[in-house]
């Protein structure tokens, strides 16, 4: 029989560190469940809340600082690479840019609560030329708020979590099989959703050569540049005759255009 809780207690802080590190590096391994369980164990006096938070903080800072440096070195290219593996590459780049431009480094305080933004915000901070100390300050506080919320939830619901852990322990070695299977199923479902979404997105897109061919044939679709002001400043070029639009009021800018007009939009 495997004493699951025993191993969690012995290696708990290390597991938290590795789990948070992997998640913040971009791996599809959720860290919040482990933080909640650790929080419940800390409520029972079996783990130290301080150590859990320090492990989560250290792992977050290591991973985020790496992305920050990559962002500083490679600029928007690293952001595009990250967003390419997200569910919606176009909205990913545009939305994260817009959010970061609006809130600046303060967005790091809540970044970890927003799916997709957590991994993208640090390289964005790096590419925007933010200072290292300010980045570490806001990112560290953000990590503490995020991990603290999960640990607090674990402490609040510790009785239910204790019952779940006891049930898993009764399963012995099968507990690891159950947990591993759930993780594999979770990743497989997310991956299938992503592939399906990307397939739909590919079908709906227009390739650059196709747009160029339209221009060459004399067809003039409405081309909208929906990049953020920061992205335009970073790369002050545009497709000829493109309308510089803001995504929030793009419909107003189009005015009374016929509904069947061909519209092509692009971001970074």
């Amino acid at each position: 029989m495997i004493h699951l809780v025993h191993y969690v207690l012995v290696y708990g802080v290390s597991l938290i560190f590795i789990n948070v590190l992997l998640e913040q590096l971009g791996a599809p391994v959720p860290a919040v469940p482990a933080l909640i369980v650790a929080g419940a164990l800390s409520r029972d006096g079996k783990m130290s809340s301080t150590n859990i938070l320090l492990a989560a903080l250290a792992a977050s800072l290591v991973a985020d600082y790496m992305w920050f440096l990559l962002g500083r070195r490679y600029g928007y290219r690293i952001l595009r690479t990250l967003c390419r593996i997200s569910l919606s590459p176009d909205s990913c780049v545009r939305d994260t840019e817009a959010r970061f431009e609006r809130w600046g480094l303060k967005s790091l305080l809540i970044a970890k609560f927003i799916p997709g933004f957590s991994t993208v915000a640090p390289p964005l901070a790096g590419s925007s030329g933010s200072g290292t100390l300010a980045f570490v300050f806001y990112d560290g506080i953000g990590a503490l708020i995020w991990a603290g919320a999960a640990v607090a939830a674990g402490r609040a619901f510790h009785r239910a979590i204790d019952r779940l852990l006891a049930a898993l322990e009764n399963l012995g070695g099968w507990a690891l099989v159950v947990i591993g299977s759930l993780l594999v199923v979770l990743i497989a479902v997310k991956w299938a959703q992503r592939l399906h979404f990307l397939k739909q997105l590919r079908l709906a897109r227009i390739e650059p050569r196709e747009l160029k061919a339209m221009f060459d044939r004399g067809e003039l679709p409405i081309v909208l540049d929906v990049r953020t002001p920061g992205a335009r400043k970073h790369n002050p070029r545009a497709i000829p005759n493109a309308i510089l639009a803001h995504m929030d009021d793009v419909a107003t800018q189009l005015g009374d255009l016929a509904p069947h007009t061909e519209v092509v939009l692009y971001c970074t």
């Binding site: 497709i239 189009l254 939009l265």
Partner: protein, 31 residues
Amino acid sequence: MLIDKGYTKVRPLAGGLDGWIDAGFPVEDVA
């Protein structure tokens, strides 16, 4: 958003502006 407003032919450009530039197509200065 545009599709919600009734526009039926709305397509994002694959690869964005970088994809257009990488393909060697012309751009204009907006600075």
